[in-house]
Symmetry: C2
Subunit: 352 residues, 2 copies
């Protein structure tokens, strides 16, 4: 008998097909591949992007410290084709019965490595830590602009996950409104808090660690687990063990362990799921609000294993062929201590 499970935060029911469970090898799909060609994000091509907003340049022998020059480890630039414009006011207005406003916001690209063939899974932990610090620094800078209610950090890896450029990069979008799912998560967490006077995520972390069937890994600061009612096969969350409502307000000492958790998860996914395309999203509190007791920032990792889910888009109803307990077991048991993530598969294409 399939099982219906309810997400304790947003109240979304999900069908878990326990009967015909899909194992990692049951998903037919393409590995993340590289086509090559010219890349504006590569080291040495700094003049091919809009001028940089931020870059970390480890002061090593011989490297320059000049903006928009080579020698950086992480580099943040405005998106050349932004979804939102940085100038102007929101100008909320009616259009008959409808409502609209100007698309004011920021859209930035976090170039995670100067090396085109690197992935977050194969980068040294220290470099991943740099990427996380870049995320944080950009949020702290942008939240000074009071027009921005929410700042989203996300990453599309691989064409199937919506990445249009191969070079390892994340994205940041600063928005004048709260996205719908974020609002629902916040409201769900608030309701739980009102009823129980405890954070739902803190409860979840505690319960999952007591009987760790859905736990994939943990360290002093983070737990990596498969959520009880996942929308997608092998959906995984990384949660801080101690309550903190906003990613950017985390104590600086946890960034090292976050980089470790993230690298470990991505390596395990590369090993078990054969280098899948994926989406990664940081869920955090609205940037203009003070610390709160009810929301708990975390990372959601969604490998792109099923070909489409148009039906899910239409209805918000998810059918997941892999029970989270099984997904967690595969990822937990994957031994990556000796594993070196290979670079993405190269495909031969005619030179343009």
């Amino acid at each position: 008998m399939p099982e219906l499970r309810k997400d304790p935060i947003v109240g979304r029911w999900v069908i878990i097909s326990t009967d015909r469970a899909k194992r990692p090898t049951d998903f037919m799909r393409d590995r993340v591949t590289m086509k090559g060609g010219f890349c504006p994000f590569c080291n040495g091509n700094e003049d091919k992007t809009p001028p940089e907003i931020l870059a970390y340049r480890p002061s090593q022998n011989g490297t320059s410290n000049k903006a928009n020059s080579p020698g950086w480890s992480v580099r943040v630039v405005p998106n050349k084709f932004p979804a939102l414009g940085i100038e102007g006011n929101m100008n909320r207005q009616a259009e008959g019965m409808f409502d609209k406003m100007n698309g004011v916001g920021a859209h930035e690209v976090i170039i995670e490595s100067p090396d085109h063939n690197m992935t977050l899974a194969s980068m040294p932990e220290k470099r991943i830590e740099d990427v996380l610090w870049a995320y944080r620094d950009r949020i702290v800078d942008l939240r000074q602009d009071k027009r921005f209610k929410y700042i989203l950090i996300f990453k599309n890896h691989g064409e199937a996950a919506g990445a249009s450029l191969e070079h390892p990069h994340g994205q940041l979008i600063a928005l004048p409104i709260l996205p719908k799912h974020v609002r629902e998560e916040l409201e769900g967490a608030k309701q739980y808090y009102v009823y129980k006077e405890r954070c739902v995520f803190c409860d979840l972390v505690r319960q999952e660690l007591e009987d760790p069937i859905r736990v994939i890994a943990e360290n002093d600061d983070f737990v990596t687990l498969a959520p009880y009612a996942p929308r997608f096969p092998f959906e995984t969350w990384i949660l801080p063990k101690r309550h903190e409502s906003a990613f950017e307000n985390s104590s600086s000492h946890i960034f090292e362990n976050l980089a470790k958790s993230l690298k470990q998860l991505l390596m395990k996914a590369d090993l078990v799921l054969d280098r899948p395309a994926y989406n990664l999203v940081i869920h955090s509190s609205p940037v203009q609000e003070p610390f709160n007791e009810h929301y708990h920032w975390h990372i959601e990792f969604m490998p792109k294993l099923t070909k489409t889910a148009g039906f899910e888009w239409g209805t918000g109803f998810y059918i997941n062929p892999t029970p989270p307990e099984e997904a967690a077991r595969f990822l937990r048991e994957a031994d990556v201590s000796e594993f070196t993530p290979p670079p993405p598969v190269k495909v031969e294409v005619a030179q343009r």
Copy 2:
């Protein structure tokens, strides 16, 4: 400047990129193709599906009237790999802090034509009407089972939209709960009704017909339009002009015009978007509830033009590169009076 637009029903904000609008030819993607091979849904293979639940067999010369024999125009069978099981009770229970229940429900396949190469766009209107009647008849039958709160009718056309079988077919899922998006739509519509004492969809139809920049087509009973805040490029809704909360309770005389509207939209999409993969969902009121004044059933059509939207999944925030006014103009101006939708493109594959 991009524009943020709010969906008046669920309150979802969408970014419309008015600056770099995408025209139909800007979307790179695959047409719907056929690989051929054995098909359990074809005429003559009736013994390869579970026994039929319903079939229409026009009594023509020489055709049999026997169940599970050839000669049908529409045929409904249980899904061989159902997402939900029809037997048993829901048995709601806790699992620590979590909630679950048995996946009780029905999962049926509506085989829309005996001809493998037919599509809803190329079928005669009379045959489409049969399909709509089959949808209705199945809902009316299943709603007698009081365990089912909601009955979803949807259709995935083409592999990119999640169809695993090529033969033209729709699906029905009867659920013991309301899907999240449905609940949100119902609640949004209810709120509007409480405030205005009018149905939001009735208001929308009236306003859109007054200044028809987003209207694609209309007849006496239906209007086909691009919604004000569409999530996807070329997203299109078909709405009944007169208020009715549930699809299956519609007056029988409107089915003819609904078949006309649907065929016309699918032909226009085939012409303008070059036979796209698509999802089609009937949005209707919960089946166990009586007629209501606030919700208005309709069809949502979502062609699969953008390769993925993993980011949207993660956040519920949509970026749509095609303003609905432009999408509507392309579809409105497409003249399909002389157009014969070609069968899906055949691709040569080695025989298995």
